[in-house]
Symmetry: C2
Subunit: 146 residues, 2 copies
Amino acid sequence: MTPLDDVDRKLLALLEADGRRTFADLAGEVALSQPAVKRRVDRLVAVGVIIGFTAVVDRARLDRPLEAFCELRFQGTTSPEDMEALRRDLPEVEAVYVLAGDFDALCHLRVRDMAHLREVVARLRATTGVVGTKTLMVMSSVRGPR
Amino acid sequence: MTPLDDVDRKLLALLEADGRRTFADLAGEVALSQPAVKRRVDRLVAVGVIIGFTAVVDRARLDRPLEAFCELRFQGTTSPEDMEALRRDLPEVEAVYVLAGDFDALCHLRVRDMAHLREVVARLRATTGVVGTKTLMVMSSVRGPR
DNA sequence: GATGAAAAGCCCTTAAC
DNA sequence: GTTAAGGGCTTTTCATC
């Protein structure tokens, strides 16, 4: 596949900052015609560099104000795929990171309140292969589009 | 402010799944007129439930295959705002989580390679207030829309 | 306070080059 | 990569419940 050029990179940056910018608008920024921009963006999606477009929702404001990380230790027979399965099985798990080092995985959690967190951690600890956890509370966080 | 109803929640779910869906399209899904949908979405943005719209870019495929976390310890005089400033100052920092507990903050990092990671961690360690770090390498991760 | 209808203008998309 | 054109979408205004 053709490598990305500077125009593609500019388009990525612009669409990362505002995923709803119009092709007409983007065309002006990169000094290209509208159809040319559309073809480039379509291609970026097709090759998977752009996974998709999404609304960034503030879950804290919506329904899950509490955020935490849970470091997990698994027994030696557990595969990375089994660890990643936590994301599929528990809706409170936003992400699972399989680690090299001390702990085997890191779970990013979002919950309604402490009782909910207690319940989720209990479910994690009851998961096959999990032999230990260490939970870290998040007091505040920053991310999303710059 | 008016609390969110089921239509708002439906719109959020739809826009999370596809941030570029048209208002006309959304209107069909929630059985409302186009202007009504636009007003609701504008309101969700205005009140901050929708932080913004973005293209989800696969940085691993693009230019930063390596992912890591860096746990940070700060001296007692450092404010949470100062910790969060790392996200603004270092482009390799995807997110900063201010923690309650052992470490003071957790940085999510994305880098090109090990040399790049070494450089970023060095910059973190050279940051005012940082007195200790512990870096965790990510071997694989799962997240994004289910 | 929120909605629907209508209209003008802009945007998207396709086709042709 | 460009231009051109049709159709669709967005956005504003205004009347309504």
